[in-house]
């Protein structure tokens, strides 16, 4: 028992602007730990999303570009094509990646762009005040689905990891979560693996992270964790969907 735990070096001292219990900060920390451990700070470029994590560059001290809503994969493509030696990651929410930016992520994955995407699925548009996302659960109330998501009207939540895994171009696609310590350990491993695949120049990699948004779910952080576990994890199954070695998903 007992290890050393402290803020990764690449994280700044600035307190985050996130709501109490919001897992964005936690996921930032995992990314930061991986950057530290891989020793790639000096050649890493992050792409900030438009979403609650828009200020990620205030917390992780590497070069950053700030994307437009949904377009981070296109920006990452632009960078990696002209500077394949840089390590590039995008950090995107579910509104960002699964709604407005779904074309960009699919095509980046399909072209096999060699960057890493951290995809934070919190089943809602956090930043703009809790509107419905493509990943919102059936029946879930949001400000734009005040009577609960009606599947007959707007369909089922999109499973991004599975969707991307049908693509024939090799890639690493996995779904993780950070709602419990045991999952957090796994999630970090997956993030590290994703960065490593990039460093080896092997493939596109994406880690979907099932997350919580206590504020817009109208729950306390602890309740939110419970809801995520009960409702989301049974729909969004954890684990690797695709590795560059396996041709097709698990």
């Amino acid at each position: 028992m007992g290890r050393i735990f402290r803020k990764p070096e690449v994280m700044t001292d600035e307190p985050t602007h996130y709501c109490p219990g919001c897992t964005h900060g936690l996921i930032h920390r995992l990314v930061a730990e991986v950057i530290d451990e891989l020793g790639i700070r000096g050649r890493t470029v992050g792409i900030a999303p438009v979403g609650c994590a828009v200020f990620i560059y205030n917390y992780i001290s590497v070069d950053f570009q700030e994307s437009a809503h949904g377009r981070a994969p296109a920006m990452a493509t632009g960078i990696k094509r002209v500077r394949p030696d840089l390590i590039v990651f995008t950090y995107q929410g579910d509104g960002d990646l699964a709604s407005i930016g779904i074309a960009e992520i699919i095509h980046a994955a399909n072209r096999g762009e060699k960057f890493t995407t951290i995809f934070v699925n919190n089943a809602v548009y956090g930043m703009t005040g809790g509107q419905m996302a493509p990943t919102t659960m059936p029946g879930q109330r949001t400000t734009t689905s005040p009577f609960g998501r009606k599947v007959e009207e707007v369909g089922m939540p999109i499973k991004i990891a599975e969707l991307l895994s049908t693509i024939e171009t090799p890639g690493y696609i996995t779904r993780q979560t950070v709602i419990k310590p045991k999952y957090i350990v796994q999630a970090k491993k997956a993030i590290k693996k994703a960065f490593k695949y990039q460093m080896e120049g092997r493939c596109f990699s994406l880690v979907e992270v099932v997350s919580i948004c206590p504020t817009n779910w109208g729950l306390t952080p602890v309740e939110a964790v419970k809801w995520a576990e009960e409702t989301m994890l049974s729909y969004y199954k954890l684990g690797d969907c695709k590795t560059p070695d396996s041709h097709k998903g698990v």
Binding site: M1, G2, R3, I4, F5, R6, K7, M11, P15, T16, Y18, C19, P20, G21, C22, T23, H24, G25, L26, R29, K180, P181, I184, V185, P214, T220, P221, V222, V225
Partner: protein, 80 residues
């Protein structure tokens, strides 16, 4: 440096009192305090530090990196 042990600390002003660490501590060491911090949150505190086994679950779970567990030589301890 012969006699190593761990130091547990909470950055009270980073803590937002979300309670997630409390919920995952296997030893029920933590609780939310009733003193407001600078930002207006009620931060967490080690109610039973003696039970802490430095497992790090709280660190892992904290979204705000408000907890740290560091190695420290026995004699360093007093300086804190």
């Amino acid at each position: 440096m012969d006699c190593m042990t761990y130091k547990f600390s909470i950055d009270v002003d980073r803590c937002k009192g979300c309670g997630l660490c409390v919920s995952v501590c296997p030893k029920k060491v933590l609780e939310i305090s009733d003193k407001v911090n600078k930002k207006g949150y009620f931060p967490v505190r080690q109610a039973h530090p003696e039970d802490c086994n430095f497992c790090g679950a709280c660190y892992l779970m904290c979204p705000d990196v408000a907890i740290s567990i560091t190695e420290t030589a026995e004699d360093d301890r007093e300086q804190e």
